[in-house]
């Protein structure tokens, strides 16, 4: 049994460990270890294509995580006060959004956006005074942000909902009893209490968006995010530079996930100490 478990972990983590190991390779071949060096990290960070892809990824991840946190929190708060079949239906829709494979979301979003743009763009061109200057919707950062927001919003809803249902209902009543109208109750009681969950949701959404390849690949148009860059350069052969990028992405993602977990857990502990 122990050997079996060891095999599973080896199988899971050896490739990742090798990527990290080879990112410090002094030689230029990904399969031959030739001494320690951090030169590939320097190369990666000085590569303008990598940096542009990284900037795209960061902007997309930050924007979509922010939007997802705001919209997701609003949805969670709204759903919390709804009862009965309406709630069941919306809950189901949210869980489905998490379960649907990324490739389906990618294709579906692509088709939806293309269809909408095809309808809207001629309209804008028709209304605009000078046809050649009329803004036209197309695939790019905006479409990646839209697709990622939709997907990661569901995560935020689930996390915030869990937090909301752990808050004692009497707290809201106590606030109302102490002359606070509903908005003040939300701002001064509900929001501070769910803030850790919102922040954890934000970090999770950020990580998912930052790491996502499949959805971005479909809706990115001519834009390149970091995962897309990695994918396209791998087709030209794996270099230690790719290993270095991969390792950096992995470390950033892990740190964000751990921070999210710590936030959720420490705020739970405070509550239970009460």
């Amino acid at each position: 049994m122990r050997i079996y478990a060891a095999c599973v972990y080896l199988f899971l983590y050896t490739p990742i460990a090798i990527i990290a190991l080879f990112s410090f390779n002094a030689g230029r071949h990904a399969s031959q270890l030739q001494g320690f060096s951090v030169q590939w990290y320097g190369r990666a960070l000085n590569n303008p294509f990598v940096m542009e892809a990284l900037e795209n990824s960061l902007v997309v991840a930050f924007t979509s995580a922010t939007l997802a946190s705001i919209i997701g929190t609003m949805a969670a708060v709204g759903l919390h006060s709804v009862r009965g079949p309406v709630r069941a239906v919306f809950d189901a829709i949210i869980y489905i959004a998490i379960m649907i494979p990324g490739i389906v979301i990618g294709i579906a979003t692509l088709i939806a956006l293309v269809t909408v743009f095809d309808v809207i763009n001629p309209w804008i061109a028709a209304i605009w005074p000078r046809v050649e200057a009329a803004p036209q919707f197309s695939m790019g950062r905006g479409s990646i942000i839209a697709a990622h927001t939709m997907f990661t919003m569901a995560l935020v809803v689930v996390i915030v909902r869990a937090r909301l249902s752990s808050i004692e209902g009497a707290l809201m009543e106590a606030s109302a009893d102490l002359y606070a109208p509903p908005w003040a109750t939300f701002r001064r009681i509900t929001l501070p209490l769910i803030a850790p969950a919102i922040f954890a949701g934000f970090l999770l959404a950020f990580t998912f968006s930052f790491d996502d390849f499949i959805i971005a690949f479909f809706v990115a148009g001519s834009e390149t995010t970091l995962p897309i860059y990695i994918f396209s350069s791998i087709r030209r052969g794996v270099t230690p530079e790719i290993n270095a990028i991969g390792t950096m992405v992995m470390v950033v993602s892990l740190v964000l996930l751990i921070v999210a977990q710590l936030i959720l857990r420490s705020s739970d502990r405070k509550k239970s100490r009460k």
Partner: protein, 371 residues
């Protein structure tokens, strides 16, 4: 302590007029009528599910009555949300805000009040409230750093700092241990008297209701069974339910044999006839019962006049009094409390002894038997 009724002349602080509340097909409260006077300490007493909490929540504004009117200071407030009512509540779970300090919790109501008092004023009133509940120096503590009893005081301070017209307390002492509960009961009473705020307490603990209240409103199945001072409820219960719920009592079932004004005679099944005082609403032939408080029964070694022969079944020494379980051929089992004074020389009665029980005429109360 007990004045029998609130000052009737003035406008009541709060009033329920034919108030009913149903949740779906369940009637939680049915035709409640009640006026709460200024400065009164009123308790809703009853077992869980009797509608007492629903009544309180309708006063607080958390529930809207299905029928009838809730009035506060003369105004109908049925449609007024809780945040507009001059009423504050101490919750059973305290419901203190975990992310705020003690002082921030107490200041919350003042900060939300419109017009909002000045900052210095809020600070002074918070300090005063902390002093009232004897928590000076705790203002910067976090809620989870406080013990149950301290949290209870914070909850109290958070409510009284707003000087509400009506302070609602939902089983506020239920979570405290017995000794602390006793202390808090005394403090609550002192507080109520010194502040002059009207208190409305919900409790299932009859002892608590008896010791704290000016008036008690006994509820059952969503209806008010009787409203009266503790002594009234104890000495002149309206129904067997009240007699049973408030204190301990012996009940002898039978039918009304005759009635003369405020006195009636009850025919037991064995043919014995007992007499006692009675309230209105009883008619000859009704099924009724006689309630006899155990501490008002005398246990004697001689028959005397009108003594009922009994056999002692059990004797339990309880410190300030001794509880006897005796059986009589005509009355069945009877519980008797004998105070220390009548037990001189440590003799008392032992299991198997024969004795006689008697009681004064005014100790017996004849009540309608219910359902």
């Amino acid at each position: 302590m007990a004045y029998d009724a609130p000052m009737e002349a003035a406008t009541p602080v709060a009033e329920l007029r034919s108030v009913s509340k149903s949740f779906g097909s369940v009637m939680a409260a049915r035709d409640l009528n009640l006026a709460i006077g200024q400065g009164e300490f009123l308790s809703f007493l009853g077992p869980s599910g009797c509608g007492k909490t629903t009544a309180l929540r309708m006063l607080a504004g958390f529930e809207t009555p299905t029928e009838g009117e809730v009035r506060i200071a003369g105004d109908v407030v049925n449609d007024q949300p809780s945040f507009q009512r001059p009423v504050n509540m101490v919750f059973q779970s305290y419901a203190l805000f975990p992310h705020l300090t003690v002082a921030q919790n107490i200041a919350y109501g003042l900060q939300q009040k419109r017009p909002r008092p000045g900052r210095a004023d809020i600070k002074a009133r918070v300090a005063e409230a902390l002093e009232t509940v004897r928590l000076e120096g705790f203002q910067d503590r976090r809620i989870w750093e406080m013990s149950g009893g301290q949290q209870q005081r914070v909850a109290l301070a958070r409510a009284i700092v707003n000087r509400p017209r009506l302070l609602l307390l939902d089983e506020p002492l239920a979570a405290l241990d017995r000794k602390l509960r006793k202390e808090m009961q005394i403090e609550l009473q002192d507080l109520q008297r010194s502040l002059g705020i009207t208190f409305v307490l919900v409790t299932h603990d009859q002892e608590e209701a008896l010791s704290l209240s000016d008036r008690i409103c006994v509820m059952r199945n969503g209806e008010i069974v009787q409203i009266g001072s503790p002594q009234e409820l104890y000495d002149r219960p309206a129904t067997r339910y009240v007699a049973d719920f408030v204190g301990t009592s012996n009940f002898f079932e039978g039918r009304i044999a005759s009635k003369d004004g405020a006195r009636a005679r009850l025919g037991l099944e064995g043919g014995q006839v007992l007499s006692g005082s009675c309230g209105p609403g009883l008619n000859v032939g009704d099924r009724a019962c006689m309630s006899l408080r155990p501490e008002r029964i005398l246990l004697r070694s001689e028959a005397g006049d009108a003594g009922h022969p009994v056999t002692v079944q059990n004797r339990i020494f309880l410190g300030e009094h001794t509880e006897y379980l005796v059986t009589s051929e005509t009355l069945g089992q009877v519980i008797v409390f004998a105070p220390r004074q009548t037990e001189q020389e440590g003799l008392g009665y032992n299991k198997g002894d024969t004795a006689w029980i008697t009681w004064r005429d005014d100790a017996a109360r004849i009540l309608l038997s219910e359902q």
